[in-house]
Symmetry: D4
Subunit: 166 residues, 8 copies
């Protein structure tokens, strides 16, 4: 496991092959200088390590979890079952169903244990990081400023897009 | 519109008929004594009032939006486009597709503008409120305590369930 | 929890409302006089009790688990993550997606942790019990005989069906 | 943005990457010498510019909007919310769901704000242009003649198709 | 068949049982005093009468067709194949697939013959009428004014919605 | 089993509960005075009786099989595996998936063993009978005449449909 | 168009690009020496030529139509609307929905006009030919023999398959 | 057919092309030194050989069947119809629907004949073997030990995964 001192966000994924997707969350948090840690802990293959990690991470001060998984993606829900910290879920596009199985397994949580779910794949991983920043920004004013700057830049860039027609 | 002094959460829905679903969010926030407001503002039928509301609500101190809508549910995404505050989306089960259209229209946000999406229907509305409490609890310690108590009670009740077999 | 002395099958469900579906498994095991126990333990709302139950049940001699759950149905997979005993999963027809979310969340298990999945709803619950009997019959010859008798009777009854045409 | 003097059709897309799809609408309008303009304005990343554009475009005399977007495709509906001019929507095939999310987010508009939706992808973009020509042809008789000629040619070409069998 | 003198819109449906859905288009056109006619002509059961009707209707001055059908809904596409007038399609919610078959059969038109498709069911039928009014309003200025008034009223009513919370 | 002397069509269903759907095939064949027989033989619960039936029926002169089943509907494919006579399949609308599982299990036959599949439910059952008549009409000229009369009547009735608008 | 003297089967497709799929039907009919013709006639782009073809083909003695089309595949249903000869439909795998739109547009025919539908793609095209042979075999005894030989050979080949394990 | 002396598991597939998927079951059983046999026997193209095989295999002492098939995958259900031994089904990812048709055709078995279904594709084939081992382990204690060792190794390896971040 790789840790950063006093991380605020814990990025989790069920398999190292999910990194291709979840790296987008890591990179986006880096852009905001939000301390975070990235770990691979499968809900199905390493369930005890997962519970231990979630509990210790919450004690160490993690304020948001981002959990990505594919197929019968139990990871985000299991994390949420063991913490009262906000959990964001990213369905990973893997297997024969292209991530729709993971979407259903993450977003359709029964009442009582919420997971805030983002889009399937890299778009969802990036947005999970932005939503984490937005959650943290309520408490850490400099992040609010940074997020508003990011959003303004994003709007400006979006409007600068050029099409190959005259 | 109905307002509460210094609300922290703004519950929005696209149509008054969504109240049957979204009342679950309202009731859950009430259980936590989280000040909130509930409004009906359609993204499609009242787009200008929506933008005005979102901007003023953020200025008034709303820290989380919960937006529920059915069919081509643009509401949560449009709210998110106009604020840097966390936005949670609830797909409402209405129309011929039973909420799956709304799920796709809410969860599949493109990169840059996140919406944390919950389950279709009342389960999602209740969970949106619980996730909002969880987000607020990072900043307001008494809510953290209340949430942990709520969760412990929920676990206890879940284990008390009885089946009609001896 | 309700226990039977030396049960061989543990029927689990995520919510007492799943009983309407899972009772079909209970009744079918009763027809074969297979000792079993039925419990409600939510993977999301009571995760620690679930792990404790699974481990103790395996020690007590449970040889097959039947786990039914709806929506983002993590229960069968979480049970399977904590035992090497065969786990059979039943997607319960609940919520806006009519059990298709549960089917995906149960059947699409990643490699390493299997769940043998049955049909959505009561047909699946009944078949889970029959598959459990079939599994046990490999080891307990009288069950093999009972199962073959059951199947022969079933075939006979199927062929006795009458249509209201002359 | 690229403008043409007195354009009658405004082609909009949420991202420059949608051009690969939407160019089919541009090329088809060119075949009919229908003055039009093509712009990239994201409903989510540049919502204020979008509203401003739609209102000014309608004032400048745009008579049909063609809006293409992928994933949680809010663009066509948001355009329709701000104009009484006909809006045609094209679901772009992007992301893990291959455009079915965009189809649902565009076609399932709630009552009151219509979007005439075409097929997912390039076929839809080309057909959006043909439908725009058909709409304009009610008012501009030379377009009616041009459309009938186009259709007759299309029929003739369709019948000239050869198969590699003797 | 029932005709109105000099109708501008032709509402068609595949079966009289579609009237429950398509009446919403008729009522909406009535609100705008747009002369129109309503007919039941099945593309599959009365294909020759359909072609004859479409050709004569276009000659009589019909400027928009609204065609609603369920299941393998060929009607809108067949109408579009025989006219250069704009055709709007409404998938009717009937049969075991609840209108999703009709949606696919209407919206996924191949390149060359467009059908502007609306939502499944009554919402779609009402919106088809509004889109027809919008198309006609380009040519008939009083309809433009009427449509803008309608939309303003709709916005006002949407904002007057009350929720049963204080 | 109920037999008719020298039947030409064998209607089969997996369960007596499918009769509600399959009766439409029986009634339609009766309208054409096509001798036929109706039987309930489950491919899963009575596989040997099924094979025996199919082989004897073909020997007795059955020229078309119509097989209806729900859920994992193996019946039509298994019938087709044991005969070279045309087999028509009807997906029955039963269980949690409303017949879409049966549609997939019937229509997606691998290369080599065809099943001509009709719509889910009663519409499909009626059409299976009409297709059987059409198949038989190639060989039995009076059926050709009867089918053309039926179709002409059907067209006439379709055009007589009245709408409650003046 | 390419014709064969006294063809018994008419293979139709909506676009020359469907040949890649439909060639499997042609090749299979060739294996049985069944005279047939292959034509490209779009239901949407050449509707009048289609009707003319169907009527003349039936008069010339075509006894089975095989119609393949993709997307909003109206072709098989329109053919069936104009003939009482058996029509078999093949959903072509094209466009963003991979043939599922075509499957729904072909198989879900409303009551009265049947289309016997085969699997999506080449498997379906081959099976359409085999079903056509089976239909013809009722009337032409040599085809019955040929089909039984074909089936026996197919079974033998299937059993000769070797796996790379010892 | 390839046999191993006294095999306990019979792996079956409908086509040699399924080997690419089903080899994962074979390899996993090899890791556990579980004697097994692999055969290709199509339920549709060689139905009689299939029944003969299933009956003889059960007599020879096969204790678990693993059956994989694609499209309208009848194989697992037909095997289950002819044996009282546990049958595990693997939907193979083939054809235009990517294995979802096979999933529905395998998992949605009607009440009375169960098939324990695994995930689509290789993950499912591997898990079918693990579930077979788990079933056998109830009776053969050394397999129980081997399975627990395998699972512990799997957990250790899962936790050793490294991400390319420091």
């Amino acid at each position: 496991m790789n840790h950063v001192d006093k991380p605020l966000v814990g990025i989790l994924m069920g398999s190292a092959s999910d990194w291709d997707t979840m790296a987008a969350a890591h990179k986006t948090l880096d852009e905001f200088d939000v301390a975070h840690e990235c770990n691979v802990i499968s809900a199905h293959r390493a369930p005890e390590a997962l519970v231990e990690y979630v509990k210790s991470a919450e004690k160490r001060g993690i304020e948001v979890f981002i959990a990505g998984a594919g197929m019968a993606a139990a990871l985000p829900g299991v994390v949420a079952a063991h913490t009262s910290v906000p959990v964001l879920g990213v369905p990973v596009e893997s297997g024969a169903m292209g991530g729709q199985d993971a979407l259903h397994a993450i977003v359709q949580m029964p009442p009582g244990i919420p997971v805030g779910t983002l889009a399937i794949g890299k778009a969802g991983a990036k947005n999970a990081a932005l939503l984490a920043v937005s959650i943290l920004a309520n408490k850490y004013p400099p992040l609010k400023t940074a997020l508003e700057t990011y959003r303004a830049t994003q709007t400006r860039k979006a409007l600068e897009a050029k099409l190959p027609v005259d």
